[in-house]
């Protein structure tokens, strides 16, 4: 763990530094903004809200000086994926359709963060309308994985020749919340919001070496999250460590009168035990996650992780989720159908892009949508409309819903048999270079990459990526834990225990180190002792 401020965990160090006055919210904000500027090449942010962020930091500073902070998040710089509505700040979904669109309201999660004093630094990059697994398919260009520029990666990746430099070797972040993952990973913010429909938070978290939590469906409000698949979307949380994820979860979870699918009961925020105990737990290893294409490196990490639990006294059992293999095709039908329905509103009338083609209302609609959406979005709309045709509805949509139920039932059976938590890989391999990634089309990529994460969305279950180790190429690899519905505390407790065991290394990023002079220079790291 480095001894510098920006690389630190929010809960353990930064909030203490703020509390003790070793750093002010304004200083913190300024440093993050500076770092955002010097890491601009990562393309993590679509919009940086420097002015409002500094204002918010100033307000926070006043509150802290009065001794009346709004809570642990007061003064903490955060970033938000650009598919959450932010009042007065552009919300683009990385699409021409919403370029320049300024929402009149805040998403509930954004409002909650602001109400607790968090400082919003900006909106992060993504695949257009969150459709993708690389953060490469947005109108603002691909996001670059900060680890591409780390000492760890540079040392291990052998350049093919001198002429093929960094430009060729940089790796993708995964997606679709790649901007948020890169922002947290490169220390430009302490936590970020992502969204997770088929793995969009956990996948980039794994590739960027950060914690990525997808809470139980219905635990966090979706109001203000521009939907991909309403029945699977969940706001995701990206942080440096599991404790921070718990802090964010506590500040965001609970009933929202504006989202009828949220839980009715209030959510009680929790703190995780300092010394978590896993000895009484039963950890399930679903054999179907031994999927084709799983790298041997990850397979071996997965089995090492299982051994860690065994050695700690936990029961480790192999379990079966037989219908998981149908999840990709089932997801394809349900996702595209909902996409087709959700995207119908973008007609250029009320908001967003409107084409200059004015021959007729219909031609205006058609041109608006052709100009506004990229191929991926249009392709999904087309398939979705096919599945929604009256004559196809029973054959595809209804069948897919039934399969979804079977997938969910598999989890129910496993948890019903006494298993507490499932342990799986998050991704098939470490991040691939951009040049390699774009050899395949978006659909193929998404289908491959979502395979390990999607089933949790089908079943609405909470799941988390915990950064585990570096690959032979010096890139992060993560493992995933899947828990029972609304059992986030148990899930995060296990994740925290695991995090302590693996001691994932801190990214060594020149840019970050340059901007992080100061506060902790003479102090040894206190974290993860």
């Amino acid at each position: 763990m480095g001894a510098r401020l920006l690389g630190h965990a929010l809960r353990s160090q930064v909030s203490a530094a703020l509390k003790e006055g070793r750093v002010t919210p304004t200083e913190l904000c300024q440093r993050c903004l500076a770092l955002i500027k010097s890491t601009k090449f990562l393309n993590a942010y679509i919009t940086v809200t420097e002015e409002t962020a500094l204002k918010q930091a100033e307000e926070s500073e006043k509150r802290r000086k009065r001794g009346q902070p709004l809570g642990i998040l007061d003064g903490i710089p955060i970033a938000v994926k650009d598919n959450f509505n932010t009042a007065g700040i552009e919300t683009t979904c990385a699409s021409n359709m919403l370029k320049g669109y300024i929402s009149p309201y805040n998403a509930t999660v954004v409002q909650k963060l602001l109400d607790q004093g968090a400082v919003l630094l900006g909106k992060t990059n993504l695949d257009e309308f969150a459709m993708g697994s690389g953060s490469t398919d947005g109108v603002f260009g691909p996001v670059r994985n900060p680890w591409s520029y780390s000492k760890q990666y540079k040392e291990k990746s052998v350049p093919k020749s001198h002429s093929e430099d960094e430009e060729y070797n940089w790796v993708i972040t995964g997606g679709s919340s790649g901007g948020s993952a890169a922002a947290v990973s490169s220390f430009t913010c302490f936590a970020a919001l992502g969204s997770d429909t088929g793995g969009s938070t956990r996948n980039p978290a794994a590739h960027c070496g950060v914690v990525g939590l997808k809470p139980t469906y219905g635990l966090i409000s979706r109001h203000g999250l521009i939907p991909l698949v309403n029945s699977m979307d969940v706001p995701g949380i990206l942080t440096r460590c599991v404790d921070d994820a718990a802090v964010l979860l506590g500040s965001l979870a609970g009933h929202d009168p504006k989202d009828s699918t949220t839980i009715q009961d209030d959510f009680k925020p929790f703190e995780l035990p300092d010394l978590p105990d896993v000895s009484k737990l039963s950890i399930g290893i679903p054999k179907e996650y031994h999927a084709p294409g799983l790298s041997s490196e990850i397979l071996s990490l997965w089995s090492k992780a299982a051994d860690l639990f065994k050695n700690a006294g936990a029961k480790v059992v192999e379990v079966s989720l037989p219908h998981t293999r149908y999840s990709i095709v089932c997801y394809h039908v349900l996702c595209t159908a909902e996409v087709a329905s959700n995207m119908a509103r973008f007609d250029g009338l009320e908001y967003g892009h409107r084409s200059d083609v004015k021959d007729s209302t219909e031609s205006m609609y058609a041109a608006t949508r052709r100009e506004g959406f990229n191929d991926v979005v249009r392709g999904r709309i087309l398939s979705g409309n096919y599945f929604l045709l009256k004559q196809n509805y029973e054959k595809y949509f209804v069948k897919a819903q039934k399969v979804r139920r079977l997938i969910a039932n598999d989890f129910g059976k496993v948890f019903g048999s006494g298993v507490d938590i499932l342990l799986t890989p998050t991704t098939l391999s470490d991040a691939v270079p951009y040049t390699e990634f774009i050899q395949e089309d978006n659909r193929t990529r998404s289908a491959q990459d979502d395979i390990l994460t999607q089933a949790a969305n089908m079943a609405g279950l909470p799941a988390i990526n915990v950064p585990t180790a570096l690959s032979e190429r010096g890139l992060p690899v993560g493992l995933q834990f899947i828990g029972r519905s609304f059992q986030e505390k148990q899930l995060l407790t296990v994740a925290k225990w695991f995090e302590k065991q693996v001691q994932f290394p801190v990214i060594q990023l020149e840019e970050a180190e340059r901007h992080d002079n100061g506060v902790f220079q003479h102090q040894k790291s206190a974290s993860f002792s």
């Binding site: 959450f84 309201y105 309403n230 009168p257 989202d259 009828s260 119908a344 509103r345 007609d347 009256k390």
Partner: protein
Amino acid sequence: MAAVLAMVARGCGGVWRRLRQRCAVRPGSGPFPRGERAVACNARGGMMSAGKSGLTPWIPVVGLEIHAQISSNSKLFSGSQVQFAAPPNSLVSFFDASLPGTLPVLNRRCVEAAVMTGLALNCHINKKSLFDRKHYFYADLPAGYQITQQRVPIAVNGSLSYSLCIDNKMSQMVTKTVRIKQIQLEQDSGKSLHDDARSQTLVDLNRAGVGLMELVMEPDMCCGEEAAAAVRELQLILQTLGSSQAVMAEGQLRVDANVSVHHPGEPYGVRTEVKNINSIRFLAKAVDYEIQRQIEELGNGGTISNETRAFDSKLGFMPEPNLPPLILYDAKSLPANMNHQQVINIDWIRERLPDLPSVKREKLVEQYGILPEHSFTLLVWQQDQNCNSRHSNEDGLPEFFENVVKQTQMKPKKVIGWILNDLLSYLKQHSLTVKESPVSSFLLADLLNLLEKKEISSTAAKQVLAELWKGKGKTPLETVKEQKLELLQDQKELEQICQAVIDGQENEVMAIKAGNQKVLNKLIGLVQKKTQGRSNPVLVKQLLEKKLSE
């Protein structure tokens, strides 16, 4: 339209026959050329003269789809106000405009209104109902879909009883029943206006998202009159419940009719839809017109095609993922620990249903001994007046009547005449609601009491009423005194007047004496004239008879 037909109907039984006689239509004649409306529905259901028979009879079948706007302060899924004729786009929430990321939140009041309506129409209320998206691509449907209840609606399998008169005679009424297939909750659309001159479309989203109840009536009707009577009764029920104001002119009640004709023993014919019907009178005409058109078309060897079908979206429905199933409870299933604000108890609503129009009518007939047709007039008229009234089901004509009865010694059977003839014609003439009547129930009762106590004659009473309409704040008694309308109590004076009349009408007196008693009425009239209606006709008759027999 090729020709005008004279039709003979065996009305609601209901076989219609097509006659061979035809006459050319004048060019430019409207949709309802004069003379064509000879078609009528005969509610007796008996076989009428078949005229030039020998032709295969036709059976018309009419079903209705009715959209009733729910009377609520806010929209079905958003907090925007519901208001008629507000400035364009002034009642639009982020959700109504389908801003990305907004979600529907179900309005409890709308659910209660639908449950009330379902109960009043004898429906089975589904304790679990679902919401679906129905996809269209219209400018006035901002989200590109309407949230409705396609798979499992809130209420199903109901019925509506309605009455109609035979041959337009109020004294001959029959009661019929139409089955209600289902009631579903759904969103209204916005409105778009096409400005061809500037080739632009203007969209007003004030109405977008207002709660509707879609009521589907099975094809149990067979003519325009039946359809009109059913809608009139439904309108009255909705207004009594307060679940919809149901003012057709304001679009709160929109009726689409499905019409087909077939030969007896054959399957139903191809349906056509008559849409956007905005008054009950027009409904009856439009349905009958469509029946005629179809019979004629088929008679000419043509076929019926369903044009509106062609515009139907090929896109289907999808479950609305942002709304969990709508769960309702009854006394038995109500969970003990549930917050009452969060649940809807069907039994609770049932217990609080107001008297429905049919019950109200029965009560009026039973309690006051008035004729059934009078009870209809009392209630139906109330509804017509509601076109202008915001608070429709309060203080209507029945209540006015009951108040008068309570405050007067006059028998209800006599009071009803004053209500239906005098009050009603005055209000109609001046387009006033009962509430706006310048003569309150108290004043009218006062007046009728004077009449009942024989202090004034009925002629004088009408004169007083005419004065009271002017609303000058005078009591009936004051008016009587002012205009000297009291009955002549002085018998001597009356006798003198009677004598004077007899003396001046020699011929009449002769006739009476010759045995023509009818002529006596003329003399009575003359006395009344001389006394300016202030004489008691019974007394006058006695006096005249006495004098003539002397």
